[in-house]
Point group: C2
Chain length 214, copies 2
């Protein structure tokens, strides 16, 4: 297909497609004349992936390029690739200080230890967890820290399902797509399912006839 | 304490505190003279709550005001209040169309049915779930739809822990704070714990010595 058809098939405007090609996010088409190129289903697929990561996942074009490049680097072992993809979609945090931070850091270390995760003390997610717990302490809501073990157990079940979906990791590009799409869009999906599960639980506890308002 | 001390205690600049008081998010201080007022621990607490909701939860000042007003409305039953708080933190989506959307909507209806959630077909989270599944189909990654049941079960365990944390719902302001803080900051916490659980699961499956890179 021509550029205009590629644009119609994906909903991505022609100037945006040209920009993605210039930036190396999308391969150029097969030249058919001096001013014409032909595009195929691989281009449609790549453009849809970029739009999903940018629109649903909120990733920058630079981050998307980094991920797509990593997926195409044949020297990177699959698990390192998955780790790199995963880190790209993990927001880092600076370490804090003060008594709330110290209490939160101690609680996070205990949690990692109790769940067999002490090897991951240096994972970028850990500072983020500590920052959230520090906020619970700062807001004087220590009871919120009590949900941690239930959350950790639930995320183990979620991660098992996630890695099953990664499936045959011999197909590298596939594995990275599933990790990135599944991680970013999965966060949103989990948050939305949690809303319904909370509404249902709230109805079980507080009221019988309020399904529509809860 | 005076306004300047309140600012130091919370890290919120004086002009921002004045703006919150003008907008009704924070009660005024107790007047001690024509130009002076005294502030207490309730003001510190309220300011920290607003900052947490704005900074970690990404809520607008208008949304925060709506939530705080609902918490103070004595005519709203507790479960309706929790429902309102919960809806405020659920991003709505427009309905889509086309074969991907239709397949996703059918899959979402099946899911609600299978998990005893069919009363929640009108919940604002449902369109969002459908939109995410439609994206999985559009990206030709139907295997990602296969995680749904595991996610739904995991969110039931999460919601049970959440509602336990709500605790004594007779204290309305407390219940709303816990729902809003717990929901927004909880989403972030679950996402971060999921990263560690994924890294650990990936190591179990793909490699032995890669805890630091995974």
């Amino acid at each position: 297909m021509r550029m205009a058809e590629l644009s119609r098939a994906t909903g991505v405007p022609v100037p945006t497609i040209k920009y993605y090609i210039r930036e190396g996010l999308v391969p150029g088409g097969e030249r058919t004349s001096r001013n014409q190129a032909r595009y195929g289903s691989a281009h449609v697929r790549r453009l849809r992936l970029i739009r999903a990561l940018a629109d649903h996942g909120g990733l920058s074009i630079a981050t998307i390029k980094e991920l797509l490049d990593a997926a195409e680097d044949p020297d990177m072992p699959v698990d390192a690739l998955l780790g790199a993809a995963q880190k790209t979609v993990t927001t880092g945090r600076e370490a804090g200080e003060g008594p709330h931070w110290d209490a939160a850091a101690a609680r996070t270390a205990e949690l990692l230890d109790r769940h067999g995760w002490s090897d991951y003390a240096g994972h970028p997610a850990v500072q983020g967890i500590t920052a959230l717990l520090a906020t619970f302490y700062e807001l004087d809501r220590p009871e919120l820290v009590g949900v941690l073990d239930a959350y950790a157990d639930a995320t183990k079940a979620i991660a098992a399902a996630d890695l099953d979906a990664v499936g045959d990791a011999a197909d590298r590009a596939h594995a990275v797509e599933v990790v990135v799409i599944g991680t970013l869009l999965g966060d949103a999906l989990i948050a939305l399912l949690r809303r319904i599960a909370q509404a249902d639980r709230s109805r079980q506890i507080f009221g019988a006839d309020r399904a529509t308002s809860a």
